[in-house]
Structure formats: structure tokens, C-alpha cells
Point group: C2
Chain length 678, copies 2
């Protein structure tokens, strides 16, 4: 269901690509039919919701009402537009702006909604700082008008300098974003060096202090909001667990408890995909003294215990070792495996990668070097095969072995692409540019591996990889803002600026087909391809506006081809995207890194550790590389093998707490645990 | 002594203004004599230090050794330069770079040294992130070389695009700072829209993620460092207080205590400038039960008690009320005073300020408007006079009444300047431009007052004003970095680029006097006045480089007139100034605002409050405006007067805890306190 809803949401959003002004035009009938289909699906989903939830709850939820209104608006607009179109009258498809509402308001996208709630909470405080900032801007503009207005100065383009109050406000707003930094100062500075002080004061007050203040307000709210959410969640969880306990409780002596069998059934029900041994471990921790029942306190902890991602790594012997034990355990094979496990193996491959980097930088055309590429590919494939031979394949391609997956995918994609390219070249004598580009990118991406072999870099990289999923929330947030602004932008500026290749003979090709841009910075910077003529271009323009630099050139360019107030569109985008959303993004990265830097363990994690230690199990806490980790596991296995028949082959189990990728906790469940586990 | 040292440090630093290349040239003999004088003063200060500190301590302190080495180096360099100069040989005054060492290393500038220590501690972590960032940059550059290198594309200036690996690295480094944002992408984007994805990926990874990472690392270290420093200071203070207690203690019953007389003497000695009543209040808090002695726990608290800035506001009757009681207490006067205290008075003046703002924006030349200026000035002066008439002048111009001081200074400066300007105009028929500019600025600054009358803005403004002193530390830090880079910059680029006014006939005037800049963006942007020809210009260039925008134009311009590796100077400045120091500045503002936002009171502050409440004193906690505060005080005074002779005129004392300007704590010391105070 989830996937289907997401599919239709993205289908609905991507309609903008096919509708007028289109990247790939489709007839109006097709797009409108698809839209109606999407709306029907959304309506179906909503009625389904209404059936499974209580009537009161359903009608109180603003998001359901939002969706209904959005569906109605879209249908009305579609009908009006269709009718007007039949009579050949053009109108605006204004309902396209409401489409992102479906992305925000379906229950599945809780993260995005939370981010929007966080923004809404930040707004009042932001507004106060913003008003103060605007006041400061207006005051500085007034000063600038008085100081420079009557000097008859000229800008580098020969235009009057600081003559009109509103233009000064715009210019100084741009200076806050630093986009016109020395240019706006130069005429005054050329006139007298002392005027530089005015601009220095302006930049310190507005760019450095106020912009930091915005970050401070957003970050402060982000932290507060996060804390509240976590507290609320923890409270809800606690309450629900107590409710569950009250349902399941039986009397045992003086206290109420939950029996072991009942507990096991419950865990099997709520977490069907955890392994038996993992469940036994949890039971072992919850039922501390092996009394056969679980008391209230331990029971309530269950939710937290289930949240901690404990990876059950079964120490299994290598499948080859089982299939052909003689070959796999022969001296040559043992030597090979110990060689792969050696530190030197990693270093050798680091050197190979460095040499590879030099070869990539060299010219491609020399046949010698293109042969070298095959050698490198072969070397990398041999490395992967050797590793799979040495380590257990299922462990090597485990869930959390990100880097192993990355390596293998990159190498095999490169292999496929290179083979494809060579066959194409030899059969049709024609290099496919797309495939070649992909080959180049894959080749360079291979080099990332060198970072992976240095511990400090690995820690930073792991943090970055860990925050990727949450970053996708910001992807969603950005998508919503971009969609809205892109649709508005297309209505305002569609077709006003056009791009012609350099060889074109069209009149005003250099002025983007619009004589109003003659001599403008926009045309001079050859920015013609940055336009709102279709959805994809609009997104790229908005991306460039997010990066901020030269945004005033865009604003002036688009204002020249339409009307001056069009600048407001660009200012609004700057406020929404840069002052609010980018700052939230920065807050998020700051917070994510602070959490990673603070090495505190959560209470429950410590409880588990303690328990395991109390039970007399060996705990290994080390910042090991994955290979070394696997190494250790193997050596433990060997020890067990070495001690032979004295102990029953306990089918070594290793648990790993995976929530802190920077420091691995390795629990080896020795005989004492097995007693507990039966 | 402190002032003298600072004077000589700044004299020494400002020598750069007068030495070759000079803003105001002075003969070499004069500057060198001044430098020798400065060095002698520093040496004298150092020997003085050596006398008052222990030999071991003195020689262990790296800062003393630093200063000695710096003095020796400066003298050697000066001698060599002088001798070479006599034989007309030019050499480099390289020792000028060590001058900022004096600013850092004299004991007075503890704050700056602390900031430098914080930077030193951050360096290892920054280095790891920086290396990772460089790796990412190099990888993306390699990709760019492979993707675009052989397409024969051209930039907007017609230069080859992405041909040379080192140039690509530089261009992409500039893109990280967003300074060449759409320009660097446009040729590839024009060729194929898909290539935009490469730049989007680059910007997300490097500009958004890595730059936030730098901020995270710097901020994290800043917080950690701050916590450590505070912890260390608290520990030191505690130890010293215990030492003091052991020296002063006397036996009293079962415990050691400090007698009241002894305590009073001590407080008088260590804090000679606090008022008697303040001291009595502290005693009253320390000696809780009025036993005549202070136990160890309370004694140790003394340092914290002294740190809390308690303002003793004596409720005094207005001097006019004492001199001419009949007039001051007449009905008219009472009405006047109650009018001034009324909310409407503030609103009336807010409206006047708004009207004033409109008049300022209007044209100056109309005689009608220049008369209006006199009216406004008069209105403002009447306001101040009325306020001084209503409130007690000493309270109105109290230490913490920042806004009253601000208003009065602005108005009287404006009055003086306007009068001066008018007399000059009427006598010599000549408007002095400088004075007129100052008048304009003062006039606009007056408008700030409107912010002050809105509570929410006042809170933000007060926070900003509170952090100004610490911001000066960053001023010092920036000064040191700027000095070093300005001196190096002058050696590298002095005289290479020159500024000629637009009317000049000098050859290559448009190319800044250097044909190498023909057709460069530097000349086209008319940036000629941004050069390293003297100390002041260098500072302005460095300021523009700190703002980052267009810094690549500067780097390319200066590299064109010297050698290509000159770009390294600009990259180094960017790393030091923007990646490290600006991030520390942002961290500092973030932290300062978080402290202001978190309304927690320190433990000792709460202790004082509690004590006072226990003693049965009235506590008023309100977010009042200063005027209202004064208002309240007066009304209390009136009450006392009203109740006539029943209570002895207790010369009302009001204490205010000033460390939290956002929420004032007002303690009115009623009769019960007076018992305690005597």
C-alpha cells in the first residue's frame, strides 16, 4: 500500500514534466486522465482510512481535511481548465501548487510533516529576528541614500548608483547574501576610501551577526523540538507498555508478572523477524534471575530492548570448508587466507588504488593506458574473490557491511560498462558518450576506497553514511518547496528567456532571444539556459538560487523581461529556502555530529552490556575494522575447534550492538550464556 | 600600566601605516626610532615581569620566551634592513609579521590567547575533516577532467574549460565557496543538461555537507573548550577560597569560622569599589543566621557572590524636589511627570520618530524640510529634558541604562554637528562634506530608538549588546590574522595594481596600470582600488576576501600580475579566515544566544534570591522596561512618603541583579532587611 501511494504521489508530482510547458510534451488528455487517476487513488486511500479509523478521529485530523480540499481544488481547476481549453481560452493551472500537499499529508511521510511542524514552530521567533533584520536593512539603506544619493556616482555598468530607495534596499539585501560583495561597494570606495567603513559595518551587522542569529534561532528551535518529540515518544511508549503489561499480567506471589511463555509469544508477534537466539538473549536480560517470569519494570523495558539493533552473527564455517574441507584447509589455502587477513594486503591494494588514480588522470588515448584499465579491473575482482574466499560470504555481504557492498557494486558496474563499451566500439566503431561518462565516474568512485582504510576518515564517513536516511527528509522538504516555486516560476517567466546554441542565427540569440536583456549581466554571463521554460530547467535555476551566488543577476534578468516586482519572487525564495530550510539542514548536520561525537551510550544499551557482563560473558569493546572483526570471530572459532571435544560444539553466536557504528560492542556468548539460553 | 602596554602594542602595529608602503609616509628614521622605543617598552615590561614572578615560573612560561624571541628578531631585522638601506639595497622587512605576537602574548590579552588556544585544540580534528574534504575535491576534479576535458568547451570569456587538472581543482574549490556558482557550470550545462547533476552532487557534498561539518567540528570544540575553561576556573577559585579560609579561620565551638570583622575587612580589600549597603547585603546572605561569623561553606561562596553584579539603586528623591519642593510638587509638575510616565508618551515619540524617518527620506534641499530637522531636534531634546525632570538624573544616567546614554549622546552629537554645519555654511557658504555625512548618519541612528520600545526586539537587542565585549576578542583575533596576511600581501603584491580616477590619461588606466590585466574580470569589474599598495587598502581587500564573494576574481587578478602560485595566498587566507575564524565567530554567536535563550539561573543567583525571600523581603520579578522599573521605584517611594511618620524614613534601597538583563530581579529591602543590615 505504502509503495503504491508513494508511486502515485510521485506520478502526480512528475506530471509537471509532461504538462505544458513540458520537457517531454504529452497531449492534455493523457496528463489530465493520469491526474484524475491519481486523485481517484488518493480518494480511495482516504476512504480506506476513514473506514479503519474512528469517525471522530478521522474528522479531527487536519491532514485528512487538507487532502480532501486538495482533491476538490484539483478537480475543479482541471474541469475549468478543460472547458476553457475547448473554447481555446488560456488560463492558469493554479491547482498544480497544491500537489505537494499529497506528499506532506499522507501518513507515510511522517518525517517531512515533522520537519514542517518544526518550521511552523520556529516561525514566530524567526519573524521577530527577521523584522529586526529588515529594520536594520531599511536603516542602512536610508543612510546609503543620504550618503551616496547625491554624489552622481555610477556603477561599473554605467548605471546610476544608489539613487532610488527601493533599489538600494534590494542591493543591500543582495549584499547581505554577499552575492554582489565588492561590486556594490566599488563606486563609493573609488570616490572615497572612508566609505568602505559603511559597507564593513553593514556586512558585520547584517551578514555576520544577523545571519548567525537566524541559524541560532532555527537551531535552538530544532533542538527544542527534537527533545520534545523524543520525550513525547518515550512517554507514549512507556504508557503503551504499561497498558500491555496490565493486559497480560498474572499474579505471582506479592507482585504481578508476565509469564515467560506469554512473553515469548508476544515478542514473536511484535517482532517476527528477529532470530530465535536474539529472542533468547532478550529473555535472558529481561528475566534476570531466571525465575520463569518477567516483572513490570523489565517488561516495560522491552520496547527499548527491541529498538537496539542487535545483529546476530552466527559464526559459521566457510561453505567451501564444508564442501571441500581438504582443499580449503590445505596449507596453501591457509596461507592464502592468512595473507588476505594480513594488514599488508590492505596496504598493497591502497598502493594499487593510488597508481590507478595516476593512470586515470593520464591521457585515455594511449593504448598502453587503456590496457592498464583492464589490469586494474582484474586486480579489484581478484581482491573481492579472495575476500569472499577468506571470510564467510554471508558475513561478508551482511546487512551492515556497507563498504563491501559498495566495492562490489562499483567494480561489477564498472566491469559491465567497460565490457559494453568495448563491444559497442568494436562492433559499431562508435563510443557511446553516456556509457563512457558512466565508466569514467565509476572508475573515479573506486578511489573512495582508499579513505576507508584510514580509521579516522572511516569514522567521519560512517557518520556521513548514517545521516543519509534523515537527509532524505530534507530531500522531501526541498522537493516540496522547489515544486511550489517551480510551478509559480513557470507561470511567471515561461518563455520569456530562451536558450539558443552558439551557432544559432536567431535574432537576439546572445540576448536570450529577448532584446530587453541587451547589455545585462544576465546575457553577458551567458545564463540563457537558466530559465523557467520547463520543470527540469526550473529545478536547476532554483538549485542555483539556493547556492545564492549571482542570484541578483537572475532576479534582475527576470525582472527586466517581465516587471520589476518579479524580484519579490526571488527574495521570497531566498527567505524560505536559504534562511529557513538550509539553516535547518545545517542544524541537523550539527546535531547529528554532536551526537556522534558525544560517546555516551543510552541507558538501555548500558543495561544490556552490564547484564551480559554480570552473566560472565566476555565483552570486547574495540574500534575494529570490519575485516579485523571478522578475523577475531574466526580466531575464536579456531580456538573452539582447537579445544576439540572437551566442550560441545556450541555453534558460536556473536551479538553485536549496531546502533553505534563508531565503536563496536562484541559479545561472545560463552558456555555460561548457553546455560541461560538452555 | 595596562593602558600603556596596549598603547605601545597598537603603536607598534600601526607603524605599518607609516612604513613603506605607507598610507601617510614617514621617514625611515622616525618609524625605526618608534619601533625601537616600542621594543624597549616591551623589554622593560618583560623585565618588570621577571622581577615580580618567580624565576622558574617566568622561564617556563612560553609567552615570555615568545616575546623575547620576537624582540630579538625585530631588532636584528631592523639592524640588517637599516644597514642594507644605507648601501641602497632593498630587502624585506620580514620581522613585521612577528609584531602581532606582542598583542597575543602580553598577559593583558588573555581572551585572545584563549581563542588561539581553542583554535590550536581544534586543529587536529579540523585537519582530518579537511583532508577528507580535499580528497573529495580531488576526486570530483578528476571526474570533471574526464567528463569535460576533451569536449573543447569554452567559458563565457572564451577560455578553455576544464582542461588542466590544477585549474579544475582551483575552480571547484572556488565553487565550494559558491563564489563562481553558476558561471563554472554554464559551459557544461549548455552542452548537455545532464551535466548539471555533476555540479549539484558536488555542491551538496562539498558546500553543504563538508562546510557544515567544519562548523560542527569548530563548534563542538568551542563548546568543549569553553566547558573545560569554566570547570578549571571554578576549581581554581574554589581552591584559592579554601586557602584563604585556612589563613583567616578561627575556632568557634566545634568548627572553624571567619569572624564578621575579618570578613568585612577582606571584602573591603578585594572589592574596594562596592557600596557599603551592597557589602551588608552580602554579609547578610553569607551569615545566614546572624551569628556574627561565617562558616567555611558560605565563605567559599564569596567569590561567586562578588561576581554577581548587584546594582545598588538608591531610591533618592529628585534633586529638584529637594531644591524647590514647592515647584516640583505642584499640581502642574505632578501632571507633567505622570504624563511622561504614561505609555502614551512613548507612543507619541514613536510616531514622531516615524514621521522623522519619512522626512529624512525626502529631499534635503527643500527649505521646508531642513527647518523640520530643527523641529525634530528640539522635540528630542525636550524629551530627554522631560525624562530627566521626571526620573532621578543619577538613576537615568545609571551604569546599566545603555539606551538612555545612547539617546542622549546621539541627540547631542547631532545637535553639535548640525549647529557646526549651519555656522560653517552661513559663514563660508561651504558645506563640509565630512560633517554633513556625520549629521546624516546620526540622524538615521536616532531611528534605532523605535526598536527599543517593542519588548521582543529589546530582548534581542540586549543580547546583541551583551555580546559586544566578547566580540571584541574576535576583533583582536581578526586583527592578528589580518596584520599577518596584510604584511605578506604587501610584500607580494605591492605596486602591481594601481588605481587611477576615471578621468586619468595614464596608459592602461582601465587595466589598473598593468597590461597583464587586459580583458580580465578584475579590470572589467573595476576592482583596481582593491590592492595591496598600503596597509589600509590591504585591510579592505582582506575584508572583501572574508566576505568570500568574487575572491576568485581577486586571486586570478593578482596571480596574473605576479605568478600563478600566488593563488595559494588567497586559498590560505580562505582556510584560515573563513573556515576557522568565521566559524568560531558563528559558534560564539550560537552559544551566546543559546545561553540567553535558556532561562536557567546560576546556582548562586538562585541562592541569593532564596535567601532574600527567606528573609521576608519582597521580590519582584518582571520583564519591565527601564522606565517602568524606575516608575515602580518611585511609586514605592511615594508609598513610603504616604505612610508618613509611622515608619522611619529608611532611605529606600533597591538591589538589582544585573547579570541577566532579560529578566530583572528587583529586591526591595524592607524593614526586615534593615534589621539584618544593622
Amino acid at each position: 500500500m505504502r509503495t503504491v501511494t508513494y508511486f502515485f504521489i510521485f506520478l502526480n508530482l512528475s506530471l509537471a514534466v509532461f504538462e505544458e510547458p513540458a520537457v517531454y510534451p504529452l497531449p492534455f488528455l493523457v496528463t489530465s486522465l493520469i491526474e484524475v487517476l491519481c486523485l481517484l487513488v488518493f480518494f480511495g486511500r482516504l476512504t480506506h482510512f476513514a473506514k479503519v479509523t474512528l469517525r471522530d478521529v478521522f474528522w479531527k485530523d487536519t491532514k485528512n481535511i487538507c487532502i480532501m480540499v486538495a482533491i476538490l481544488l484539483s478537480l475543479t481547476d482541471l474541469a475549468i481548465y478543460g472547458v476553457l481549453r475547448m473554447y481555446n481560452m488560456r488560463s492558469i493551472r493554479w491547482s498544480r501548487i497544491v500537489r505537494p500537499i499529497f506528499l506532506i499529508n499522507f501518513a507515510e511521510s511522517r518525517q517531512i510533516r515533522r520537519a514542517f511542524r518544526s518550521i511552523r514552530n520556529t516561525l514566530p521567533e524567526i519573524t521577530y529576528v527577521f523584522l529586526l533584520f529588515m529594520f536594520s536593512l531599511l536603516m542602512f539603506s536610508l543612510m546609503a541614500l543620504k550618503l551616496f544619493g547625491e554624489r552622481n556616482l555610477q556603477t561599473a555598468e554605467g548605471l546610476p548608483y544608489f539613487k532610488n530607495y527601493l533599489e538600494i534596499v534590494f542591493d543591500l539585501y543582495v549584499l547581505v547574501t554577499t552575492a554582489n560583495s565588492p561590486d556594490v561597494m566599488m563606486p563609493a570606495f573609488d570616490f572615497s576610501s572612508w566609505y568602505a567603513l559603511f559597507f564593513i559595518a553593514f556586512v558585520i551587522v547584517n551578514t555576520y551577526i544577523f545571519m548567525s542569529l537566524f541559524l541560532a534561532v532555527v537551531y535552538n528551535n530544532y533542538k527544542k523540538h527534537l527533545k520534545n518529540e523524543i520525550r513525547k515518544l518515550a512517554y507514549m511508549k512507556h504508557r503503551k507498555m504499561i497498558e500491555a503489561f496490565n493486559l497480560l499480567k498474572e499474579e505471582e506471589g506479592a507482585q504481578f508478572v508476565v509469564r515467560e511463555a506469554c512473553w515469548k509469544q508476544l515478542v514473536k508477534l511484535v517482532a517476527p523477524d528477529i532470530s530465535n537466539s536474539h529472542r533468547e538473549l532478550l529473555l535472558c536480560i529481561s528475566d534476570n534471575e531466571q525465575k520463569g517470569f518477567i516483572d513490570k519494570k523489565s517488561f516495560v523495558q522491552l520496547a527499548d530492548l527491541l529498538n537496539i539493533q542487535v545483529i546476530t552473527l552466527k559464526i559459521r564455517s566457510h561453505p567451501l570448508g564444508q564442501w571441500m574441507p581438504h582443499v580449503y584447509k590445505s596449507a596453501v589455502s591457509r596461507f592464502l587466507r592468512s595473507m588476505v587477513r594480513h594488514r599488508g594486503f590492505v596496504w598493497t591494494y591502497d598502493v594499487i588504488i593510488l597508481i590507478n588514480a595516476i593512470f586515470i588522470a593520464l591521457d585515455e588515448e594511449t593504448p598502453y593506458i587503456s590496457y592498464a584499465e583492464w589490469v586494474f579491473l582484474a586486480l579489484y575482482i581478484i581482491e573481492i574473490l579472495l575476500k569472499v574466499y577468506t571470510y564467510e560470504p554471508r558475513a561478508f555481504f551482511g546487512k551492515n557491511q556497507f563498504w563491501n557492498w559498495f566495492d562490489t557494486l562499483i567494480i561489477f558496474a564498472a566491469l559491465t560498462a567497460t565490457v559494453l563499451n568495448t563491444t559497442l566500439k568494436s562492433t559499431t566503431k562508435y563510443n557511446s558518450q553516456q556509457i563512457l561518462d558512466i565508466v569514467f565516474i565509476l572508475r573515479v568512485l573506486r578511489l573512495i576506497r582508499i579513505v576507508d582504510s584510514i580509521q579516522r576518515f572511516r569514522v567521519i564517513m560512517n557518520t556521513l553514511i548514517n545521516i543519509v536516511p534523515t537527509m532524505l527528509t530534507f530531500g522531501g522538504l526541498t522537493l516540496v518547496v522547489y515544486c511550489v516555486f517551480a510551478i509559480i516560476g513557470m507561470e511567471l517567466f515561461h518563455g520569456k528567456i530562451q536558450f539558443f546554441p552558439a551557432s544559432s542565427n536567431v535574432p537576439h540569440a546572445l540576448e536570450c532571444g529577448n532584446p530587453a536583456l541587451k547589455d545585462s549581466l544576465f546575457a553577458r554571463g551567458k545564463y540563457c539556459k537558466n530559465n523557467f521554460n520547463n520543470f527540469a530547467s526550473s529545478f536547476i535555476v532554483l538549485m542555483e538560487l539556493t547556492v545564492v551566488n549571482q542570484w541578483h543577476v537572475f532576479a534582475n534578468g527576470f525582472a527586466n523581461v517581465t516587471v520589476q516586482p518579479a524580484k519579490l519572487y526571488f527574495i521570497a525564495f531566498h527567505i524560505v529556502m536559504v534562511i529557513i530550510i538550509v539553516n535547518i539542514f545545517v542544524s541537523f548536520i550539527l546535531e547529528a555530529f554532536f551526537v556522534e561525537y558525544s560517546l555516551e551510550k543510552s541507558e538501555v544499551e548500558t543495561a544490556i552490556e552490564q547484564k551480559i557482563q554480570e552473566l560472565g560473558m566476555g565483552v570486547q569493546e574495540d574500534e575494529l575494522q570490519h575485516e579485523q572483526l571478522l578475523d577475531n570471530m574466526e580466531s575464536v572459532e579456531h580456538d573452539l575447534e582447537g579445544e576439540g571435544g572437551t566442550k560441545p560444539q556450541s555453534k558460536g553466536l556473536v551479538f553485536k550492538i549496531a546502533s553505534k557504528p563508531t565503536s563496536f560492542l562484541l559479545f561472545y556468548l560463552g558456555p555460561s550464556v548457553h546455560t541461560c539460553l538452555h
